[in-house]
């Protein structure tokens, strides 16, 4: 039944298979992004310290961010990961090649990545670690550049120690939330017939062959049911001798219902992302100057207090309130499930809510500041160049009268999707729809309150 809701894109766009099978596909993407990435680092390090006149800040935190969260993640899931420049130097190094598949195994020290770290916790803490410095990172080109460079360096080191994209899968703070929110996307890489995979040996998609590498994300496509850890690199499409791997279109949010792979680390990712969307809306888009100063480290004690509250809200307050909600749901719906499991399961309702909240936040950030992009295109370093004659283009917010309505629309959509998801998740735990309905009521209350909070911040 679930299968029948899928549309195999290759059936309708046959040449796409050829494009994705080409070994040029990924390098074309990554070499282009690598160009902008290098420019962002160089301008960040050597250009003007004025953020909104520096290519590094404007292109990373406004243009790239806007594209990622408003378009790429909601519609194409992890496809960004296939194009991402950060892990590319490391990957080239371990492959000892850029385009062609070189014979033999990857050149690494072949260490084993610790079992206890094979989850999203590093990404959770990594994201928080970056988030508490966000006011500084978003406005200081040099800091921002060092951060990007740092990510890439960690990527290289991990590529030397371990095989495959350990950085992307377990470490990259951006990768974590892209993975979580890609559960929502209407596009997926999947095998057409898992039966074929079950009997096929050797599994080219895991070990690789002369045409392609084994899955760099350490995923077995044959049993893949969720988008979270598939980097959409298309290696398995190239590798599979049975042409069994395809790109599917599917109903939005399908992966949210895959119950057996729900985990607490992912649930925490959902909490953290939602809490951060709220906090950023307060700190960055709110009218409270003192808060911005604290976040901006005007004094160390101020920043420490700010960071402390920030972390507390992310790690204890929101998860705590959500646990209470789940407890209530457990009682009301008479759901026979350990609380921890129930909290984890319900946390996936926060995926649509969090994603739409980030989109609403980004509408404001991106539309308002998007016009800076014109200026820095002509003068990336802020040195007075005028490459395309747009240096003097003035800052002009785009659609400022429209933004509140877009925000209302997207937030309401996300909320309804979240509540419907809550109903379905409750239904996975009790066969009785009445009980499911009663069980999801507290979660509905939670989701509604969060939605009201966002509406108040944006419109109230």
């Amino acid at each position: 039944m679930i299968k029948s809701q899928r549309i195999n894109v290759f059936q309708y766009v046959p040449f796409l298979r050829g494009v994705l099978r080409s070994r040029l596909f990924q390098p074309v993407l990554t070499i282009s992004t690598l160009f902008f990435f290098t420019l962002a680092i160089v301008t960040g390090l050597f250009g003007t310290p004025v953020g909104n006149r520096n290519f590094g800040i404007v292109f990373v935190w406004i243009v790239w961010w806007g594209l990622l969260i408003i378009l790429l993640v909601p519609f194409l899931g992890r496809l960004w990961c296939a194009a991402c420049p950060i892990p590319v130097p490391g990957e080239w190094l371990q492959r000892r090649g850029i385009i062609n598949r070189r014979k033999g195994r990857l050149s690494t020290l072949r260490w084993k990545f610790p079992k206890r770290l094979r989850n999203m916790w590093l990404q959770n803490f990594g994201f928080l670690g970056v988030a508490i410095f966000s006011a500084i990172i978003l406005t200081r080109p040099e800091v921002s550049a060092w951060l990007l460079l740092g990510f890439s360096l960690i990527g290289i080191i991990l590529s030397i120690l371990y095989e495959n994209r350990v950085f992307c899968r377990y470490v990259c703070p951006v990768g974590g939330f892209i993975g979580l929110y890609s559960l929502m996307s209407p596009v997926e890489v999947r095998v057409q017939d898992p039966q074929v995979c079950a009997t096929h040996t050797p599994k080219d998609c895991i070990i690789g062959n002369e045409y392609a590498y084994g899955c760099p994300w350490m995923v077995f496509p044959g049993t893949l049911e969720r988008n979270t850890y598939c980097g959409m690199c298309m290696e398995c499409i190239k590798a599979c001798p049975k042409n069994n791997v395809v790109i599917n279109l599917r109903p939005v949010g399908s992966d949210l219902m895959v119950a057996k792979e729900r985990r607490l680390d992912e649930a925490y990712k959902a909490f953290i992302m939602l809490a951060c969307a709220l906090l950023y809306s307060v700190v960055l888009l709110g009218p409270w100057g003192w808060l911005k100063q604290w976040a901006n480290m005007d004094t160390l004690p101020h920043w420490l207090a700010y960071a402390g509250v920030f972390l507390l809200a992310n790690l204890l307050l929101l998860p705590g309130l959500f646990t209470l909600t789940a407890l209530l749901s457990q009682r009301l719906g008479r759901i026979q499930l350990p609380l921890r499991q129930l909290v984890t399961d319900y946390a996936y309702t926060l995926v649509p809510l969090g994603l739409t909240a980030w989109i609403a936040f980004s509408f404001s950030l991106v539309f308002t500041n998007g016009s800076y992009a014109l200026g820095v295109l002509s003068d990336p370093f802020g040195w007075g160049w005028n490459l395309f004659g747009t240096t003097e283009s003035t800052w002009m917010p785009f659609g400022s009268a429209l933004i509140p309505f877009l925000q209302t629309g997207i937030l309401t959509t996300g909320m309804l999707f979240a509540v419907n998801t809550a109903y379905k998740i409750a239904g996975q735990h009790t066969p009785n729809p009445r009980q499911a309905l009663r069980g999801m009521l507290p979660v509905t209350g939670f989701i509604m309150s969060i939605t009201f909070a966002f509406l108040w911040l944006y419109l109230g």
């Binding site: 009218p287 100057g289 917010p397 209302t408 996975q428």
Partner: protein, 170 residues
Amino acid sequence: MNRFQQLVRWTYPRWVILMGIILAIGVMTFPIPQITDPQTRYITLDARQFEFAPHRIHINKGDRVIINFTASDVVHGFYLDGYGIQARVEPGVTKQIEFSAERTGKFRYRCSVSCGSLHPFMIGELVVGPNEPFWRAIALVIIGLFTLLTYRFLTKGTSYEYPTLGASPA
């Protein structure tokens, strides 16, 4: 069961969605009468790195607004979302900004002159009451929720897509 009965059966819970949509459209377009008399508001607004004082201003629709705009450290600017009004002010000089508040809602005023690191986030809020967009949004959320819950209640298990998929061990 004849055709007609089948049709009624099919339509029955879906009426709720239709009702919800009608209600939502109603709540988005329902005209809200003006309750307060227009006045002239004199406001002193000071800009400094990286905030405005006051950071939130409340007025009513139809009011004539006269802002005496000053800067107490460096050159700052003023841009009012939704109204597109723009100004620039140097320290020590008072700039007057005048306009009539014809649109209701919350509009951010932002610094429009690059004034330092946090400049893009230098923001204040002008609320032109009654804040229709906000209350309509709240109403929309409530109607949406009510519709969804009622629909789920009426259809019980019938349109329930994932009855057993990955059912938990419980």
